[in-house]
Structure formats: structure tokens, C-alpha cells
């Protein structure tokens, strides 16, 4: 043995040994060669697509994926009105209890099977079991039944003002229509396959979680004739292929856009915008005209924030400007002040009661804290350090509360861990929490029903579990009311109660810009990034 190899030069032996390994590696590769013909839209999405089932998760990234692959019965247009999408039309019985919905004919799923009423019924049932607004609708629904191949009925047990608003819900969880065989999957399990009837097909073989998601145009998609408007209107797939290339590092992603390695960057960090704008071949624009609301959420189960004076103290101690400067930096991208729980610029905007939030008043805050009987105990703020918007809010809150004499501990963790820790009801010292930061898109916050962080139904409320029967009464009244003026009156009353009760602190309203290169045109203005309509040269 030694004699044979003796003549070899030292390093070549090592190299030869190592050279064996690529063969092994090649054997393990399952990736097919990529077809690069035709037009490709290369996007840096705001997050990695981890889950493919938009009913199973509320993650915005999965919702955006859903819009490429699936279609909806109804859809919201830019006037915030619900329009038929897959539906040809609908009828409501005179008593307002029976909705009959008819599908457009000729729609097919990506596997070639036709879209039928049975698919719609099964899809709505699964969505209704999982989504907050869907659950509310199901609670007043007696039955959903197919009438024939293309029509089905929803029968209510009592009048309900938000049936179409629910079916045309634009954000998570969107009631996408899936083939019945997939929609019959248990709501707590992910669907095994991605088959929809939307304008693009999901290319499962090329999916690399953490890196790449690929969609191809679905040739048999039948778009509506109306022009695209938010989620409504004709969805024209103008590119052959959409590629999501996830780049977690903001600086790297920005450079990739500048170098032309990608075409569109969904959520560039505002601090990097000046660098992007310096390149004349790149357009920077806010495509979501409604914006986003920052949220500081309290835990109502444990002191000190089980007491409303402590929550009011916190609200007096903070300033929206501090939050907005630390998470957005550039005042071009946020409102100087927004005191509306249901968003500025939305149909239910009002500033009633917001004085407590407008002027930072540390003395008043200290008084209220005193009144709450705060005993100097440690307050735990969850601090998801991998999400700048949340991390910035945690830091600002911590400083404000320390300013008024609270003993604050920032518990650093990552977003995924936070989503499990915020569900813990135990005391903060036993692994629970007092405050966590988050944010919601305006489309999710526009009214008291979709805004789940104002819900105050105790045990069944969103994390933090506030309990306030008066708020729930007003929300129910809102849901039953069908007249918008009357709804507005309810919202004014509700918001007054909210500023007294403080279920959360709205930390401001900001607008996320999107950037794309000059080869991209016709990007839709909408609260959700839609990838139809876009053309690429």
C-alpha cells in the first residue's frame, strides 16, 4: 500500500480523498435544472415561506403565497367594497338569512379538475373553523350546502352584517377556495399539496424552504374582465415565472437589488431607502396606502397591568414619535400621530379619547402608577430581537416605563419563540410575560371585528386575555348593524371605552415602501403585495 502511494505528491492524496465527496453530494441532489426561458419576476419577499397552508397559519407570507395560487369567492376593491371574484353573483333572501352564491363557470384547478360548489363549501368550512372572523360567521351560521355544481347557500340563524365582508376578507386568514379533497384536511393539519385555481401554479419540486419559492403561470386561469383593483378585478399573469428569493440580511438584499440580481424588494428597511433612491433605475413606492399599526400588548392576567391605571400610566409615559422614529426612522413613512384604534384613513377613523396618548405626560403617568398600587415588581417585556419593528418597540417601551419608575426586564428571544411564549398564561416569573410588541396591517385593524386585539372576551380573547363585557357588547352590536353611519356611532362609543380600558397601545401608523427596478412595471397599489398584473421587460 505505502509503496503505491509513495510517489504521490503530499497534497494530491488529500485532494483526491476530498474529490470523492462531490460525487456523493451530486447523488443526493434532487434539484432539477431550472428552466430559464420566458419572463421571470425575481422578488425578495419580506419573510421566508415556511408553511404552504394559508388557512393553517396567519403568517402574511403564507397569505401572499395563497393569493398567487388560490382564488377567492369575493374580494375587496380599492374603495374597500366587496366585489365578486370567483362568484358570478349572489342573492340574499328577504329575511337576510339565506345567501345563495353562484360560481363563474369554466374555472379549473391546477390539477385540471373543475371548480365546483362542493369545493367552495368544504373550503369555507375549513376556513370557518380556523379564522377569527370565520369563527364569528360560523357561530351565526346554520348550514352551508351545495345546491348544484355551481351554486351553494349559506343559511344564518340570525341577521349578520358582515357575511360578505367575511367572505371577501383580504388578509389572514383569507377564505381561499381549495379542491374539496384538500379542504377536507383537518384544520389543525397542513394541506398535503398546493393545488388552487389562482393565476399561478406552485412548483413544488423547486421549493427550497429558507431560500427559493417558484410559481409558474397557470395557462387555464380565467381572469375577470374588470381592471385589477386590490384583490378584486382581473388577475392577469403577465410573467411566466415568479421567483421568491429569500435574503434575510437587509444590507445584502439591498445590494442584490442595486446590482440587478433581483427585480423587486418587497420590504426594504427604511434606513436603506436613501441608498436605493440614489439609483435612478429603481422606483421606491409605498404600495400599501393604508399602512401598518404598531401594537404594544398588555397581559391582563397578572399585575401590574391587570389594573387599568397601570395601563393608562404606560400610555401616558410613551410617545408615538419615539416609537416611529426608532422603527421607521424617516418621518416620510409614518404619521406624526394617529389616535384612531381603527386606523387613520380608514372608514372608522376617530380621535375620540386619544388625548391620553397624544401628549406624553410623565408626572401624570407616575400618579396613575401610584394609584394602581404598583409595588415595584419586575415587569417582563418580550423582546423579539430578530424583528426590527418589534425589537424597536420593546426598547422604547422599556425606557419609557423605567422613566416612570417601573422595574423592567427585557426578555430577549426570537420571533418564533415569542409566538409560543406569548401563549403562556403563567405569571411572568414562571415563564409568562407582561408586555409584548407586535404590529398589524391596517386591513386587519379597520373595524372592531377584524381588529382582534380589541376583543375583550377574557379567556377566548387574543393573547393578553382582556375581559371587558362592555367592549364585547359594542363589538356584537357593530357586527349586527348593517348601516355604516350607525356603525360609526358605535365605534365612537367603543373607542372611548378602549382608551379608558387600554387593551393595547397603538404605537403609531407607518407605511412600508417597496422598491423595484425599471424593468418592472404595473405594480398594483394594494395592502397586500399582489404579483399579478406586473410586467417585466
Amino acid at each position: 500500500m505505502t509503496g503505491i502511494v509513495k510517489g504521490l505528491r503530499p497534497l494530491s492524496g488529500l485532494a483526491a480523498g476530498l474529490a470523492l465527496a462531490p460525487v456523493v453530494a451530486a447523488g443526493l441532489m434532487s434539484e432539477p435544472a431550472q428552466a430559464q426561458d420566458g419572463s421571470v419576476l425575481r422578488i425578495v419577499p419580506h419573510a421566508d415561506l415556511r408553511n404552504i397552508d394559508p388557512i393553517w397559519t396567519t403568517a402574511y407570507i403564507t397569505r401572499n403565497h395563497g393569493y398567487l395560487v388560490w382564488d377567492t369567492l369575493f374580494a375587496l376593491d380599492e374603495n374597500l367594497e366587496v366585489q365578486p371574484q370567483m362568484a358570478e353573483g349572489y342573492e340574499v333572501s328577504d329575511d337576510g338569512l339565506t345567501y345563495t352564491i353562484t360560481l363563474r363557470s369554466g374555472l379549473t384547478f391546477h390539477d385540471g379538475s373543475p371548480v365546483t360548489a362542493a369545493d367552495a363549501v368544504a373550503s369555507l368550512r375549513r376556513w370557518g373553523a380556523r379564522d377569527g372572523m370565520g369563527q364569528k360567521l360560523m357561530s351565526v351560521t346554520d348550514s352551508i350546502e351545495a345546491v348544484d355544481d355551481l351554486s351553494f347557500t349559506i343559511t344564518l340563524s340570525e341577521p349578520y352584517g358582515l357575511v360578505l365582508d367575511s367572505l371577501g376578507k383580504i388578509s389572514s386568514n383569507v377564505p381561499f377556495i381549495m379542491p374539496a379533497r384538500l379542504a377536507e384536511t383537518s384544520p389543525s393539519e397542513q394541506i398535503p399539496e398546493v393545488i388552487g385555481s389562482g393565476p399561478f401554479r406552485f412548483v413544488e419540486a423547486e421549493w427550497q424552504p429558507g431560500n427559493l419559492v417558484v410559481y409558474e403561470r397557470f395557462e387555464d386561469y380565467v381572469p375577470r374582465d374588470e381592471p385589477a383593483s386590490y384583490a378584486a378585478g382581473g388577475k392577469l399573469a403577465n410573467v411566466d415565472r415568479v421567483e421568491w428569493r429569500y435574503i434575510p440580511d437587509a444590507a445584502t438584499a439591498t445590494q442584490a437589488l442595486l446590482a440587478g440580481e433581483v427585480d423587486l424588494y418587497e420590504q426594504p428597511a427604511v434606513d436603506l431607502i436613501p441608498m436605493i433612491q440614489a439609483d435612478p433605475s429603481i422606483t421606491v413606492q409605498t404600495v400599501d396606502p393604508l399602512g401598518t399599526q404598531g401594537v404594544i400588548r398588555f397581559n391582563f392576567l397578572h399585575p401590574p397591568f391587570d389594573n387599568k391605571y397601570a395601563r393608562q400610566a404606560a400610555m401616558h409615559a410613551v410617545s408615538q414619535a419615539d416609537y416611529m422614529y426608532s422603527i421607521m426612522g424617516n418621518p416620510e413613512y409614518f404619521e406624526e400621530f394617529c389616535g384612531a384604534y381603527f386606523m387613520c384613513g380608514g372608514p372608522f377613523e376617530t380621535d375620540v379619547g386619544s388625548e391620553i396618548l397624544r401628549g406624553q405626560d410623565l408626572d401624570r403617568a407616575r400618579e396613575l402608577l401610584e394609584q394602581s398600587g404598583y409595588d415595584g415588581r419586575e415587569v417582563v417585556i418580550l423582546d423579539p430581537t430578530d424583528v426590527p419593528v418589534a425589537h424597536g418597540q420593546a426598547l422604547v417601551t422599556a425606557q419609557a416605563l423605567r422613566e416612570i419608575g417601573m422595574n423592567v426586564r427585557l426578555a430577549a428571544l426570537d420571533w418564533a419563540t415569542m409566538t409560543s411564549r406569548r401563549a403562556v398564561r403563567d405569571a411572568p416569573e414562571d415563564g409568562g410575560w407582561n408586555i409584548f410588541p407586535t404590529w398589524w396591517l391596517a386591513v386587519d385593524q379597520l373595524n372592531p371585528i377584524t381588529n382582534i386585539s380589541v376583543a375583550a372576551s377574557g379567556d377566548t380573547a387574543w393573547f393578553g386575555w382582556p375581559d371587558n363585557p362592555r367592549i364585547e357588547e359594542l363589538r356584537d352590536a357593530f357586527a349586527r348593524e348593517t348601516d355604516q353611519d350607525a356603525q360609526r356611532a358605535i365605534v365612537v362609543e367603543l373607542q372611548e371605552e378602549l382608551y379608558d380600558f387600554v387593551p393595547y397601545i397603538p404605537t403609531g401608523q407607518y407605511y412600508q415602501p417597496t422598491a423595484w427596478r425599471s424593468n418592472v412595471s404595473n405594480v398594483l397599489v394594494a395592502p397586500v403585495p399582489f404579483f399579478w398584473n406586473i410586467t417585466v421587460d
Binding site: 440580511d249 437587509a250 444590507a251 439591498t254 445590494q255 428597511a269 434606513d271 436603506l272 436613501p274 441608498m275 414619535a321 419615539d322 416609537y323 422614529y325 426608532s326 426612522g329 423582546d383 430581537t385 430578530d386 426590527p388 425589537h391 424597536g392 426598547l395 422604547v396 422599556a398 425606557q399 427585557l410 426578555a411 430577549a412 428571544l413 426570537d414 419563540t417
Partner: protein, 298 residues
């Protein structure tokens, strides 16, 4: 002292060995200017880090969002970060965490490794079991193990120190064990065994002192590596709590601004590189003077 000189001839007591090493070190410092350089730089870094609270700088965690991302000025020598915090103050305070992490990891890894290594080297049955565990532990890439540990236990300085210590232990154990194995068969140890000296006494009196010089050298390398690994952990999001300034945290938070506000990465980067460079240089000098024959062990 004179009546015990007989004893010392055979095997000097630990205190004497340590004094001997200390003398050798002092001597080495005189003869070895690079080692002196390393020590001086380290001392300056430590003074800057631990003296930082007394320099009249703004609080390192004091935010002022309106003053964010400022360029260096008279008020903020290094400028400010994205939350408007004073970067100079953060970088100086950051040295505390980095040095504490580095030193604690080095101290803990060497002391735990020393005990395990001594026992393993002297007891064949323990050795067989312990070394398999050490082999297994060593085959897990240390940074991955540390990332996993911090991510799972939650981020705190304490957890970072433990997470960085665990992967270092097997290397120390191997080093100590190799010294023990070498000494076990030497005459003076065999003689001690023959005289009925207890195992503990042999281990601590006769064998341990010989492991000290290579261990000290090893400790400096572990320390240098721990300072860098702390930065890696923060960089991937599994480090010390970001609110506490450490060089790794400052750089991790500043990575987004690399192309515009280069200082946020550059200043802590320079401090870190200088510190690690100084520790390594000091370690190299130590190695040359304590044990010229000893090779660099990883």
C-alpha cells in the same frame, strides 16, 4: 524550608511550581516584546471597558430615537446607532461583556476540562467512557452546538458563557489526558504509587502541576476564540441579550447599516480584532516561554 528540601528535590510543591511559572512569565515578558505588547494592549482594553462608567459618557442604553444614525461629532465621538444611543459609550461598555465572556469561558473550560482530564487519564475504566463522550461532543461543530444551546435556553450572558464552554471542554480534556498518560509511567509517579501515596495526592501534587503550563496557553486561545464566537452568536441571533451592549451585539445590530454607517460595525470590529489579536499574541509569547516545545493545539 531546609528540612523539607529533601521532599522538594523529588517533586516541588504546587506553590513553588506556580512561583516558578510566574517567574518564567515575568522573565519572558522582559525578553519577549510581542508578549509584553499583548499584555499592555489587553490591560488598556480592560481599563477602557471597566472604566467606561466613570468617563462621563452617555448611558450606553440611553435611547434618543430622534438623534439616530448621527455621524461622529464632538458630542458623540463615534456617532450614534439606530436608536440614537452613543456608539463610543456602547463600544467601551461592550468590552466588559466580551472580556467577561472570554475570560469566564477560558476559566470554566480549563478547570472543568482539567478535572475530567485528570480523572480520565488516571483511571482506565473512566477513561473509556469519558473519552467516547468527549469524542461525540467534539464531533458536533462547536458553533452550531453553542447556537443551539443559547437558542433553546434563552439569551443571557450566563447561557452564552455555558454554551461556549461546553464545546471547548473536550479539547482541554484531551490535552490534560495526554499529559497525564505521558507522566503516569514516569519514574517519579511510579515511585509515588509504590510508596502508597493516595491517588488524589498523586494527581494533585505530582501530575496536575505539569499540566498547568500547556493549560494556561490553551486558555488564552480559548479566551480569544470565545470573544469571536460571542460575536458570531449575536450575529446569527442567538447571543447575549441585545439590550446589553457587547461587541457582537453592536455589530449584529449595525449590519444593516454596513454600507452607510460603516462605523457601527467598524468601531466594535476594530476593538474586537485588537483585543483578540492581543490575547493571541500574549498566548503565543506564553507558549514560547513556558513550553518552547509545545505545539499549538486547537
Amino acid at each position: 524550608m531546609t528540612d523539607r528540601s529533601h521532599d522538594r528535590l523529588q517533586d516541588p510543591p504546587l506553590s513553588a511550581r506556580l512561583t516558578e511559572n510566574a517567574v518564567a512569565m515575568a522573565d519572558a515578558l522582559r525578553r519577549n516584546p510581542t508578549m509584553l505588547f499583548g499584555l499592555v494592549v489587553l490591560t488598556v482594553m480592560a481599563l477602557l471597558a471597566f472604566g467606561a462608567p466613570y468617563f462621563g459618557l452617555p448611558e450606553p442604553m440611553r435611547q434618543s430615537p430622534i438623534d439616530r444614525l448621527q455621524d461622529p461629532s464632538a458630542a458623540h465621538w463615534f456617532g450614534t446607532d439606530m436608536y440614537g444611543r452613543d456608539l463610543l459609550s456602547r463600544v467601551l461598555h461592550g468590552g466588559q461583556i466580551s472580556l467577561v465572556v472570554g475570560l469566564s469561558v477560558a476559566a470554566m473550560a480549563t478547570s472543568v476540562g482539567l478535572v475530567i482530564g485528570l480523572v480520565a487519564g488516571f483511571n482506565r475504566r473512566v477513561d473509556a467512557i469519558v473519552m467516547r463522550f468527549m469524542d461525540a461532543l467534539m464531533s458536533i461543530p462547536s458553533i452550531l452546538l453553542a447556537i443551539a444551546l443559547v437558542a433553546l435556553w434563552g439569551s443571557s450572558v450566563q447561557n452564552v458563557i455555558i454554551a461556549l464552554t461546553i464545546p471547548e471542554v473536550p479539547r482541554v480534556v484531551r490535552l490534560v489526558r495526554s499529559v497525564v498518560l505521558m507522566l503516569r509511567d514516569q519514574t517519579f509517579v511510579q515511585a509515588a504509587i509504590a510508596c502508597g501515596t493516595s491517588t488524589t495526592r498523586i494527581l494533585f501534587r505530582h501530575i496536575m502541576p505539569n499540566t498547568i503550563p500547556p493549560l494556561i496557553v490553551q486558555a488564552t486561545y480559548i479566551c480569544a476564540q470565545a470573544v469571536i464566537f460571542e460575536a458570531y452568536l449575536s450575529f446569527v441571533g442567538a447571543g447575549t441579550p441585545p439590550e446589553i451592549p457587547s461587541w457582537g451585539n453592536i455589530m449584529a445590530e449595525g449590519r444593516m447599516f454596513f454600507f452607510q454607517n460603516f462605523g457601527i460595525i467598524m468601531y466594535p470590529g476594530i476593538f474586537l480584532a485588537i483585543t483578540v489579536f492581543a490575547i493571541n499574541t500574549f498566548g503565543d509569547g506564553l507558549r514560547d516561554s513556558l513550553d518552547p516545545r509545545m505545539k499549538r493545539r486547537i
